[in-house]
Amino acid sequence: MSSDLFPPADTPPPADDSRRTFMKQAGGIFGFALAAPLAGQAERLTAYSKTVTGATTLTLRINGQPRTVQAEPRVTLLDALRERLDLTGTKKGCDHGQCGACTVLVDGKRVNSCLTLAITAQGKEITTIEGLAKGDELHPMQAAFLKHDGFQCGYCTPGQILSGVACVQEGHAKTDDQCREWMSGNLCRCGAYANILAAVREVADKA
């Protein structure tokens, strides 16, 4: 997540930077998350400053790989993944940002892919559940979910796991209560919350 395009937290920002207050904060708390969009901005300015109508070819960078997809502007990132790229690990539970099953990481931040247009996700780094394991080696969060039985039916699980990864990265899994609150954007109807908590907290404690 780190980027050498972004100054380390203790580097004073340039005096003429109108965003200096924010940058200072961002460097400390959100550096990793902001790095990529800033880096990608110039490229996007030239590439996308035009009106798009109807289906066009979009390029999405998913799990480190560029993928192209034919889609109208109305196609959400979720439907691009599920219906066009056969990346069905990302789930649709409500399609309205009310359940968290569709959670993916965009430039390291967890978002609801059902309320993200695919066209706006171009030039960003998208991480889905399929991109978390390294070959057969599970990501520690995946392994912890397995160990603690942090799921039953498995349908909310990809969203829970990506949310858990982000939750730990954000530093919001330091206590049980904090972790419960910051994992509350992902509904689990099988009611595995107590086990999900154990999984996320274990990863946080090891981090």
């Binding site: 502007p73 109305r74 399609d95 959670t103 309320l115 706006t120 954000e170 919001h172 910051w182």
Partner: protein, 328 residues
């Protein structure tokens, strides 16, 4: 969802001119409100102007107070050290709202413009005066257990703004900077930004067609530094408020020198209560004072059968919030 055209605007001018050519077009920021409505076919803009690259960013100290760019995300603002230190109630309102994912997406401007959760508004199969003026309001005699009791009209009892941030902004005298299609900016206090439903519940804010929110500026004040946001809901998280209170107190020697009070979940708009502030100002910081302030705040309430409980709940919420702040 209709098949709209999409334009990535690179400047405010470009964005506003798109809406000049196509008045029913819409600005796309975080998308958490707009796409939600579009999926329910409650909004069908033929064109979206993506304003995410517009430079309405930054959280910076100005002579007027802390200026927060409208394109900042809720999560970033909620955890910003300046906001946390100078406006705890604003930070808490942001972080108690929605979910971490939605807070990462939603912009400050978009949050201020979110729409009611009234079930009759959200479902096009129902009549709704806000959606289709003159069609009626089944909520009056129907399900209104989480609708408003203050500032309502016979046409609409929705809490038009169901969120949290604007409640805190209203309490602490925040001023919105708006920019119109001519590039001209104007400043509107949050307390004057929202409109009461009256006979025209479809008109919710003073925003003119094509006008956009550029920033929110919150004046610096002792009562803002000593503030809190308390939210009561039907589940512990990821839910809209039944009642909430943003309060700030400047207490010296046990006497309240200045107070700010706004309520959420109970008003047709974020409900600043100057009546409560009047009771508090100059009075001792005691439970009796807080109780009197709460009574004053709910004086004009017009509850109905299923939201009558909100009078007591909002009063108790306000008292508790004041107690919490007084104890800090």
């Amino acid at each position: 969802m209709n098949d709209f055209s999409y334009t990535q605007a690179t400047s405010a001018k470009e964005a506003t001119s798109l809406l000049k050519d196509q008045p029913s077009a819409a600005y796309l920021a975080g998308g958490t409100t707009l796409l939600d409505l579009m999926k329910a076919n409650l909004a069908e803009p033929p064109q979206l102007a993506d304003i995410n690259l517009l430079p309405f960013k930054g959280i910076e100290q100005t002579s007027d107070g802390l200026r927060i760019g409208a394109m900042e995300r809720m999560s970033d603002v909620g955890e910003n050290a300046l906001v946390v230190q100078q406006y705890p109630a604003v930070s808490q309102a942001l972080l108690l709202a929605a979910s971490p994912q939605l807070r990462n997406m939603a912009s400050i401007g978009g949050n201020i413009l979110q729409r009611t959760r009234c079930g009759y508004f959200r479902d096009a199969a129902f009549p709704c005066n806000k959606r289709v003026p003159g069609s009626g309001c089944p909520a009056l005699e129907g399900d209104h257990h989480n609708l408003a009791i203050l500032g309502v009209s016979e046409r609409c009892i929705a809490n038009a703004y169901p969120g949290d941030l604007s409640v805190a902004l209203a309490a602490f005298d925040a001023v919105l900077t708006l920019e119109n299609q001519k590039g001209k900016q104007r400043r509107v206090p949050v307390t004057e930004f929202y409109l009461l439903p009256g006979k025209t519940p479809q008109k919710e804010t003073v925003l003119e067609p094509g006008e956009m929110i550029v920033a929110a500026t919150i004046p610096s004040a002792a009562h803002a530094r000593r503030s809190a946001y308390l939210k009561v809901r039907e589940r512990s998280s990821y839910a809209y408020a039944l009642a909430s209170a943003a309060v700030g107190l400047d207490v010296q020697g046990g006497t309240i020198r200045a107070a700010r009070v706004a309520l959420g979940g109970v008003g047709a708009q974020p409900w600043r209560s100057r009546e409560a502030e009047k009771v508090l100002t100059g009075a001792p910081a005691t439970e009796a004072t807080f109780r009197a302030a709460a009574t004053a705040a709910l004086q004009g309430a017009q509850p109905r059968e299923h939201n009558r409980y909100k009078v007591e709940l909002a009063q108790n919420t306000l008292v508790r919030a004041l107690q919490q702040v007084a104890a800090t």
